[in-house]
């Protein structure tokens, strides 16, 4: 009985040891793969955040906003993104993921400010265009009116001058 128990105990111990070795060697790899996947996803999100912020800055710039400060700040995020990607390439997933999370926040702030700045700039531009259009219409109308008056005066003067010349021609014809 005792010997049977000890045999079972030894068998269980061996089975447990084998299982531990198998699981023990596999777990770090599974954990590492999980950490790598998480870091990869974080970097992807950060990459998209920086790109999206850049597009917002580009729209603001196109609307005529001064984007110098935003570009400087977004440049910092882009530089950190490159650093995160480089760390990922050296298998430093934890540091890469931490950096990526920080970038997302920075990029979102820039995007929000760029959208506000772009909106302001485009409404300013719209007002400027309206004002320019009204000024142009008034300016052109006034100029054309002035030219019309000038033309009428010139025409009258020209005709009068021509009429003064005619009698002399007629007198020559009579003689």
């Amino acid at each position: 009985m005792v010997s049977e128990l000890s045999f079972r105990g030894r068998r269980d111990l061996i089975a447990f040891s084998v299982l531990s070795v198998i699981l023990g060697s596999g777990i770090p790899e599974i954990v590492s793969a999980e950490v790598r996947d998480e870091a990869y996803m974080s970097i992807q999100v950060a990459d998209e955040a920086v790109s999206s912020a850049f597009e917002a800055v580009l729209i603001a710039e196109d609307a005529g906003a001064n984007v110098s400060t935003l570009i400087l700040r977004l440049n910092k995020s882009a530089s950190l993104l490159a650093e995160a990607k480089n760390l990922f390439r050296t298998d430093d997933y934890v540091e890469a993921a931490a950096l990526a999370d920080h970038i997302v926040e920075l990029a979102h702030n820039v995007e929000d400010e760029a959208s506000t700045l772009g909106g302001l700039a485009s409404s300013e531009r719209e007002s400027f265009l309206k004002l320019s259009l009204i000024s142009s219409i008034i300016g052109i109308s006034a100029f054309l009116f002035f030219m019309l008056i000038l033309w009428r005066r010139f025409k009258r003067a020209y005709i009068q001058k021509s009429l003064k010349l005619r009698p002399e021609v007629a007198s020559h014809a009579q003689t």
């Binding site: 790109s51 710039e61 882009a78």
Partner: protein, 198 residues
């Protein structure tokens, strides 16, 4: 002497020119177009930032430096990615004509945002670690760039013409395009050949 009809044409012409002159500010803002050719610069300089004197003879674990530069002349702000790659003589280079990048993986990268007319420069320090030489090949195990070590495992072959084992460190310029929501190869690359010495 000019006839009345000639004067009428002259008045009409002056009226038209004057009207265009008055409307020019609004016309220019409506029909505004980009001026000049749009392009980006990519260059590599020696560490003094002036002469193109690059490192050439490279030993394992010796640190060398160069300066990389990008110039934006695209007419608006641009977002660039600069990829650092390494190849041996047999591996392909990017094709600028076909706008195709090299199919080799990037070891290291820079991300840079530049306003129109701005220039960016950055020093790049590198060292080749673990070089193994045999009679007709040289194996490079790792490359350290700006303090980060990358696993490379690349074989360089004996170049009988130049008498040496060579690797080329090259840099590809990519640009972000909002239309594609991603980076595309910008058709520009520069590189330096490095001779591995024991």
């Amino acid at each position: 002497m000019l006839k009345l009809r000639d004067f009428e044409s002259l008045f009409l012409l002056v009226s038209l020119a004057g009207s265009l002159l008055i409307a020019s500010p609004i016309l220019s803002s409506i029909f505004a177009s980009g001026t000049g050719e749009k392009f980006s610069e990519l260059y590599v300089l020696g560490t003094n930032g002036m002469d193109p004197v690059y490192p050439f003879n490279v030993k394992a674990n010796d640190t060398h430096g160069i300066i990389l530069g990008i110039g934006n002349h695209m007419g608006s702000s641009s977002y660039y990615a600069l990829y650092v790659k390494i190849r041996n003589q047999r591996e392909s280079l990017p094709n600028s004509t076909a706008n195709m990048p090299s199919n080799l993986p990037a070891l290291y990268e820079y991300r840079v945002l530049l306003r129109d007319g701005e220039v960016w420069q950055a020093p790049l320090d590198f060292s080749f670690g673990d070089l193994y030489f045999s009679s007709n090949s040289c194996t490079l195990r790792s490359l350290t760039i700006d303090g980060l070590t990358f696993h490379v495992d690349k074989v360089g072959f004996w170049d009988s013409e130049s008498k040496g084992f060579f690797f080329q460190l090259f840099f590809e310029l990519w640009i972000y395009t909002p239309e594609s929501k991603g980076f595309r190869f910008h058709g520009r690359y520069v590189g330096i050949w490095l001779k591995m010495t024991a």
